[in-house]
Amino acid sequence: MTIHATDMPLSLVKAKDALLGPETDAFLLGRMRDGDPEAGEKLVLRYHEPLIRYLYRLCGSMPVADDLHQQTWLSVMEHIEKFDVSTGGGGFKAWLFRIATNKANDLWRSAKRQRSAYDGAMRIAPSEAPPPGDQIEGVEEAAKLRDAIARLPEAQRQVLLLRYYSGLKFVEIAETLGCPLNTALGRMHKAMGKLKEMME
């Protein structure tokens, strides 16, 4: 019996790659380094959807996710000279998601310090889109899904979201989060199990 990885849903990143031309990240990054605005715009467009969704799932609010997204790209531009494409697994994508994860963690830590609870933001999030009358059932289902993801422990949610939105390999996810491979795999397994339980 053989189950192939191709049976799994494709990540958003792969779909975007197909849409946004054949240039590699390294090529666009090189041009961006030389100050080419178009290359920068193209990279932002390439990763916008997976990155903004990842940040949204981490922080629970689209305006906050937007802000974190902007901070992430500012950080990319600030440190672009230091990034070496040849070092580390996952290349630019892993670096980008690592920066985004750090930005979200910083926000989370600072929110915790200020007691403006991260959980509070998560509670606010479902009420952002007011439900149209005929879609109440669908909206309730969506809220249930969002809650299920949000209720996952932080470490488990990060692995699941990174895997789903970035399409990074587990080895690269472990590097990005700074944990051993076995830990990343264990968190993924637990996250999947809990999500399944919650949705049943």
Binding site: V44, R53, Y56, L145, I149, F170, N182, H189, M192
Partner: protein, 205 residues
């Protein structure tokens, strides 16, 4: 070099997740497939993990469908604007080349100008010195032959005698040496002048 990941993985869940994600090296993958063929329990575990994997991806996808992301264009434009602003702050390649060229040529020009000014000043000073009237000799000491040293005359330094002393030969030197006692001879000023005139008159005859 052993590239096997399998033996680094701590449990079946980890192994099966890596297998499902197709992230095991070929050799490890074959080994897992042999294990799955032999072990029915492991096959059940794999099916459960795949179900959970697919189920969680389904949850994520559905959650995303109800939450449209923000427009990507404002973010892209913001990044593009930052890069454009940096570009306008930075000198263009042509400007840079031009500046490099100017820098390259400026140093030799400055050095040549400094040298020319230095030489002009030296020439001015030397010319002023040449134009000054130079004493033929120090009259209170007489001319004893050592005096040439002051100007670097014959047998002296490289600059030669001062203007007006060129062409003096040994006979003239003898006359000048003989003239010394006349000048040094004590007596009244008038007497010394008369003695000197007489002496010169005799010498010229």
């Amino acid at each position: 070099m052993n590239t096997s990941l399998l033996h680094q993985l701590e449990n079946n869940e980890a192994i099966l997740l890596m297998y499902l994600a197709n992230e095991l090296p070929a050799q490890d993958r074959n080994e897992v497939e042999h294990m799955l063929e032999r072990d029915g329990q492991l096959r059940l575990e794999l099916a459960e993990i795949q179900q959970a994997y697919t189920g969680s991806y389904g949850v994520m996808r559905q959650a995303d469908e109800t939450t449209p992301p923000t427009s990507p264009f404002s973010a892209a434009r913001a990044v593009g604007d930052v890069l454009r602003a940096r570009q306008s702050d930075m000198p263009s390649v042509d400007d840079h080349e031009e500046r490099r060229h100017v820098h390259w040529i400026a140093y030799p020009i400055a050095a040549a100008a400094a040298l020319a000014i230095g030489m002009f000043l030296w020439w001015q000073t030397a010319r002023d010195d040449m134009m000054k009237p130079q004493p033929v000799m120090v009259t209170d000491r007489g001319y004893d032959g050592r005096g040439w040293g002051r100007w670097g005359g014959p047998g002296g330094g490289p600059w030669g005698p001062p203007p007006g002393m060129d062409g003096i030969d040994q006979d003239d030197m003898q006359i000048l040496r003989a003239f010394d006692p006349v000048i040094r001879d004590p007596g009244s000023e008038a007497q010394r002048q008369v003695a000197a005139i007489r002496f010169l008159d005799q010498s010229l005859q």
